[in-house]
Assembly symmetry: C2
Homo-oligomer: 471 residues x 2
């Protein structure tokens, strides 16, 4: 049917069902979690449906000081929990021992009341912590996160009594799989499965654990930077761009400054390299806690100024783990039927490569073509060329290749600026896979670092989900 | 139904029919067109369907020199017709007398063959021109445009014989409504109606006419600048961001440099301020011709260095006319059911306001909410805050208002950073209109220039049209 005719053809369309993603949630042996943490998830009633967990708690019980680092949304309308967490980290020079999260309401654009509510969550959670030898100047040791609808205030008394329940004989805090899973469920909004992973690594012969969780399915195109106030502050400058929330806990001992540096690096290559819909939230936050519970008293905190080798191992492990967690968000993207990796190589700089990967990953035309399983490389190219770079792009050096995830042969569609005669049957084979990769090579050689973005397709289901979000 | 449940609910949805837009095409009295032009549209066979016009010709027959100015896409993959038109304008110091356009094939990413084809179109059209007293250095006086699929070469012999037909007794060139309409139809791709308008204005007691046409429905988010080579070149630097093609003809006499300056100003506020899908094309081009046919021999060319007043009148008329033409493209946006004006005021600079208006206009979450007729101002705010500005934005000064097009009362939803208690029934009333305006006031006072962007909603129909474009 011609395109013009189609535009007048009013009818029904069958929505391709979003493939079930629940197999991405699997039990993890309790021994794989880092030691020195207690977690739970509670139904406080922010979400109306009985039993849905909506308040999560994560406490460090380590006898060593716990370092905390974070990356926050660069959105000008930072939600109250973002502002409060920034203050807690700043006033404690990178020390914090607890995290409280609620889902169902973002506590964003809620004025003074919002700030009071976020602080109340911090203070109530502080009371759950065992006394600390290290002490902090203002006594607040809890970071806070919220996710949900913007512009509504929290049902704060419900949330506070849920937190309080953990001191009043109804404690469900634990460190086994069930406890971690409850916490992960408390993060969920439109997520279809809880996103929980663990990993272990070895430094100087000692084994440490990383475990973490995140959430997000829509309003996902984070661009997060380190805190904008306090000793960890950095110029929060960057390119343009859900709520994406995530936290990562380790039982390694890491100095606050090195933890922040490692997290900033990891976030750029993970959470700042994913897109569902190109929209940046007011609440995006990634927090990492390092409590040293698996290090003996004599093991110093990992610090890049003192032991570069140990730091580099930690940074690499944290980055790979963050990428694993970040991919889960795209996998569960609203309406997504595809998981597509956009790889850009041979660009003048990593930032250039990252910008192009971001633009291709957010192009509505590219994403609808992915949904339609159409190897429309012209749209990929148009998106690639629409970004001003630090040095001119040479169209006659650019190549585009589709790489299937099943190990079969790649399909070049453009080689050094010249279109290939594309085998459309083969193209369809690759694009009908759930996972594949699009490689854009700008031809600048292999010196430049490769940027990878993780994105999904744009479907009828996306329009349905977001055409009546609040109903 | 809960959002999570919805994600698994595979079914059919009824696609709201895109409202018919054909009433936006109306006859124009032939006396309203500028004098000294001949136009036509021909079926050459680029489009397969018999009778569909796909080659357009516009010739200036004025005895005075014709000035030509243009703004071209900033995409790194500029199509062959863009590169060739840039060269013609550069080598002729802003003089050109003809325009040839084809639809159905973009002649983009077509290598050497593409350049040869574009030049062949220029040369064949040059032969249609009457001898010129002014003469040009290389003899080429034709600009060229193409639109359609990327990566395919033109059926060039069909196109050349169509052009040649105008010299061989089959000439359909004319200056009446039917001729202008034929030319406008030759621009169309997924457009549902030809986009043709005229306007008159007076300078120093003399009446001049403007008439023009444009096309575009998808891959629309132009960012065009003046030619990158030749005397009219300017640093083509700008923010990020179909094929949009347009041409405007006037019978006023304007110097080439002033014509370019006026066009660059007008394009920023018109064609560079529209978005259908946020995707920038490799072919976007706007051309203006000024042939002086309505000025007597003694009337000098309008030039801002010599007669500022006349120049300012011309610039204002050109800008308003360009906005009228640009709006038609959004009105006909692929799958669009809404025409929404996004106005940003009180920003530190016009560029800041323009960037925010652009971001709000391209947000997938905002556009699906518009489709859903949902006053989800939280998404508007999140998009507003996601752009780094030249000065910090003050969240507590920001207001958001929905303004209906039917003259009834506006609906403030956020005032000085505080959410209003929104009358949802009234909100639905406004959002169910086909036309309305979203005003984002950053609270920086009325000194800053107001930026306006014109956008549409994101519908099931958009996904359908673009999910299988090439089929």
């Amino acid at each position: 049917m011609s395109r013009i005719l189609k535009r007048f053809f009013s009818s029904t369309v069958t929505i391709k069902p979003t493939p079930s993603k629940t197999h991405h949630h699997q039990p993890i042996p309790s021994s794989n979690f880092p030691s020195g943490y207690l977690l739970t998830g509670i139904h406080a009633g922010v979400k109306k449906k009985p039993g849905l967990l909506d308040v999560g708690l994560i406490l460090s019980t380590s006898s060593r000081p716990t370092s905390a680092a974070a990356c926050f949304t660069k959105n000008a309308f930072k939600a109250a929990p973002v502002l409060v967490s920034e203050q807690v980290i700043a006033s404690n020079a990178g020390r914090a021992r607890a995290l409280v999260v609620n889902s169902g309401c973002a506590n964003a654009v809620t004025g003074k009341q919002g700030m009071e509510d976020a602080w109340a969550m911090v203070k109530e959670t502080d009371k759950l912590l065992p006394p600390s030898s290290s002490g902090t100047p203002d006594g607040h040791e809890t970071l806070v996160m919220s996710t949900g609808v913007i512009g509504q205030t929290l049902p704060i008394s419900k949330i506070l009594s849920a937190i309080r329940s953990q001191r009043e004989g109804q404690a469900s805090l634990g460190n086994d799989f069930a406890a971690w899973e409850r916490a992960a469920k408390a993060f969920m909004t439109t997520d279809t499965f809880p996103k929980l992973r663990s990993r272990s690594f070895t430094i100087h012969g000692r084994e440490y654990k990383l475990a973490g969780m995140d959430k997000g399915a829509g309003m996902i195109h984070p661009d997060m930077g380190p805190p904008s106030i306090g000793p960890m502050a950095a110029g929060a400058k960057g390119p343009l761009h859900a709520t994406l929330l995530g936290c990562i806990m380790t039982d390694a001992a890491v100095s606050p400054a090195s933890l922040q540096r490692a997290l900033t690096y990891a976030v750029e290559r993970s959470f700042n390299s994913i897109s569902v819909d190109g929209d940046m939230s007011t609440n995006d936050t990634i927090i990492v806690l390092a409590n040293g519970a698996a290090a003996d008293a004599a093991t110093p905190e990992i610090d890049d100024a003192k032991d570069k080798e140990a730091y580099e191992i930690f940074k690499k492990e944290l980055t790979e783990f963050a990428i694993d967690l970040a991919k889960l968000v795209v996998r569960d993207g609203e309406g997504a039927t595809k998981f597509v990796t956009v790889t850009v190589k041979g660009a003048p700089t990593y930032q250039d490569a990252h910008l192009i990967a971001s633009r291709v990953s957010t192009s509505a035309l590219v994403k609808t073509a992915l949904y339609g399983e159409d190897a429309n490389w012209g749209r990929i190219l148009a998106a690639t060329g629409s970004i001003p770079l630090s040095a001119p792009l040479h169209p006659d050096k650019v190549s585009v290749t589709f790489v299937p995830s099943d190990g079969t042969a790649s399909l070049p569609v453009l080689v050094n600026g010249e279109p290939e005669k594309v085998d459309e049957v083969r193209a369809k084979e690759i694009l009908s896979l759930e996972d594949f990769e699009v490689v854009v090579d700008l031809g600048g050689g292999d010196k430049a670092e490769v940027a990878r973005y993780y994105t999904c397709d744009f479907s009828y289901e996306y329009v349905r989900i977001n055409g009546d979000y609040r109903s």
